[in-house]
Every structure is written in C-alpha cells, then in structure tokens.
Symmetry: C2
Subunit: 187 residues, 2 copies
DNA sequence: TCTAACGCGTGACAAACATCACAAATGTCA
DNA sequence: TGACATTTGTGATGTTTGTCACGCGTTAGA
C-alpha cells in the first residue's frame, strides 16, 4: 500500500528510503466504505487525501439541499475541500465515497511540516497544486464555452470509465444539468 | 516599481536585499497599452505575469470566434494561460489589456530556476498556486450552484470596482450569459 | 423472498436564456 | 466639428433546460 504512494511521488521526485519514511510519517492510511464521508460539511480540521483505490465525489449542498458534484476523484488523485484545507476553515463541501476507498490523509499542519522538513516534497506539492489549478481552469472553460450536450460528450471522451462507475443522476449533477435533461441528451 | 513586487512577496516570506535582487533577476518588467496582447492564442513560450497596475482579461475564443472571459486580473494578482505556462505548450487562451498595464513577467524556465535557487520562493509560489486553485474552485461552484442573476449579484458584491472599469459586454462574457440577458438582469 | 428504495426514461408545461433586429446615447479621432 | 464606431437597452421569437408527475424495471436489505 505504501508502495503506491511512493511510486506516485517518485514520478516527480526521487526519494531515499529514509526520506520516504519521513514522508510517510506525515500521513495516515485509512479505509472507507461506500457512502461513508471523508469530509462532512461544517467539519473543522479538514484533511487532504491521496486516493490509493476507489472513487469519491466532492459535493456542495446548496440552501435548497440540492447536491452539486464539484468533482469526482479516483485512483492516483489528490482531493479535499481545498478551500477549507488551505484556509484552515470549516468545510463548505463534503467528500463522500461512491465505492469503497483507501486513502492516505494528511492534515494541513503535517502538510506544512512536510514542506519545511523536506524541500523536495514542497517541490512535489507545488507540481500537484499547479496540476489541480489547471484541471479547474479546464472545467471553468467547459462551463463557459460548452452546452450541456457538449460537456456530456467531452466527459464521455475524457473519462469513459466514469460512465460505468457512476449513475446518471451523479453525472448530471457534475455536468450542471438536471437528471431529466441528461437522460434526454444521451438518448 | 520593484518595491511593489517586493512588498507583495514579503506578505508571505521575508527576503534580504540580496535575495530580492536574485528574485528580481528572474523577472522582466514590461508595460502594455490598452488593447495590447500579453499572450495571443497560439503563442509558444508563454510567460506568467505579476500585475503591478492595470487590468487584464484572460479570454478563450471558441470555434465560432465568440470571446469567453475566463478571468479578469488586476493589481496585485498573478495571471497567465496556466495550462500553457505549466505544460509548456501553445497558448489556447489570450491575455489582453483592458487598461494600460504594468507587469513583471517570468518564463517557465526562470520560474523553475527560481524555485531551485531559492527555496523560500518555492514556498511562496506554492502558496500562490494554492490560492489560484481555490479561486478557480469558487468559480466552478458559482457555475454549478448559481443562476446568471445570482452570479451577477455575487460579482457585484465581491468586485464592485469591476463594474466601473469593465463594460457590460465583457461582464456578460465573464458571467457566461449573453449581453442582452445581462442587460435585463441588471435593470 | 418480499418489500421499499433507487435508477432511469418520458410526457407536459413553465422558466430561463439566446438570438436577431433595431434605435438611442455615447465615445473616438482625424 | 463631423463621421463613424461602440455601448447599451429593449421588443419579438425560438431554443434549451428545469420542474413536476408518473411508470416500470432493478437492487438491496430485513
């Protein structure tokens, strides 16, 4: 299990065994069952997660209790309510399992300690943050420039596996359309 | 002019005079006139910009030559086509002056060199990247959860100054609605 | 294995928004 | 100042999407 985290990090930087032990000591390994929450709206002390296996959804519940899916996250991705994580405030979003999921989690304190104690990891985390920023920019672009149908087609092209693992109601929520509209788009 | 950049960085980390000189040597100062392009679609070697003064728009032109405004950027912000900047690929977006604008620009090579030569700056840039990621997440949330009218009200509340500096056509493009719809929302 | 919950499609209708067309007001610049 | 472009509002109309309602097959759990 540790090996997966190590391989993931070593795609960007190289680590000695001692260095990896140091890294690992800043994380906790945890397993969650389908439907369990890693983060619940209102939580303080929000962690950041590296996903070893499984599938999660990051959701925002609006004032009418409608669920909006901000992102799906799967194997080899990092996820959190980054607003809460980085600003050390209460969670405005929730992170919930769609499938049984194994993760390594890190607190913001340990995130900062790790950056301080191992410069290489700060470099790694900068790369990851930049990638996250890019992914968000792409999603903004899709909302600005594409119709619901086009966003549907783009998602089908870029992440076909999601269509096997996630039901239509959640796909609709991710695409920002109603379940009924999605049903009509795909038929 | 250098002082502005230094103050901006020293909100996060402290620098000696020598360190700041080192930092500065990685940037170029440039001035642009209204309507000039800092980045044009298709450019290679896209730089990243710290905005000393002025106002920019980051735009995406779709296949029908419709202009979509991905973001506005003003004094004390960082801006680029981050997808092109970080992945070292051709620009898919353009960055254009709405007002005369002064910037410090940095290439991706110098960005990386700076990270390597001054760890403190890597820390600073990680903070900035995380902030950028957060801003993007907020914008995604606004598209997922809010109507055009709500996005209009939110923008008016969070950035009232934009309404003085930017015409309605551009505001509409930023909000993702037609000019006519925006005109009806605001009346 | 029985039952309630869930997933998914679809019809009918309403609301939101885009598009096209036009006119008035304002800004720009030689 | 005059000519021209830009900005903005608004009416008419069509398209897209949301909402509500319903049925039916599948799934999950006691």
């Amino acid at each position: 299990m540790h090996q997966k985290l190590r391989e993931h990090i070593e795609k960007v930087i190289t680590l000695t065994d001692d260095e990896f032990s140091l890294v690992l000591s800043h994380f906790h390994f945890r397993s969650f069952k389908k439907k369990e929450f890693l983060i619940s709206k209102g939580d303080s002390n929000v962690d950041c997660y590296y996903i070893v296996s499984g599938l999660l959804k990051l959701i925002y519940d609006d004032e009418n209790a409608n669920e909006h899916i901000v992102s799906f996250s799967m194997e080899d991705w990092w996820e959190s309510d980054f607003i809460a994580f980085f600003t050390n405030t209460h969670a405005t979003m929730s992170l919930q399992c769609i499938e049984d999921t194994d993760v390594f989690c890190i607190s913001i304190e340990n995130y900062q300690k790790l950056c301080d104690s191992l410069q290489k990891m700060e470099h790694f985390l900068l790369k990851k943050s930049n990638s996250g920023h890019i992914a968000s920019q792409r999603r903004i672009l899709s909302f600005l420039t594409s119709s619901a149908k086009e966003r549907y087609d783009l998602l089908l092209k870029q992440h076909p596996s999601l269509f096997q693992r996630v039901n239509k109601t959640m796909l609709a929520s991710y695409l920002g359309v109603s379940r009924e509209t999605l049903s009509r788009l795909s038929s």
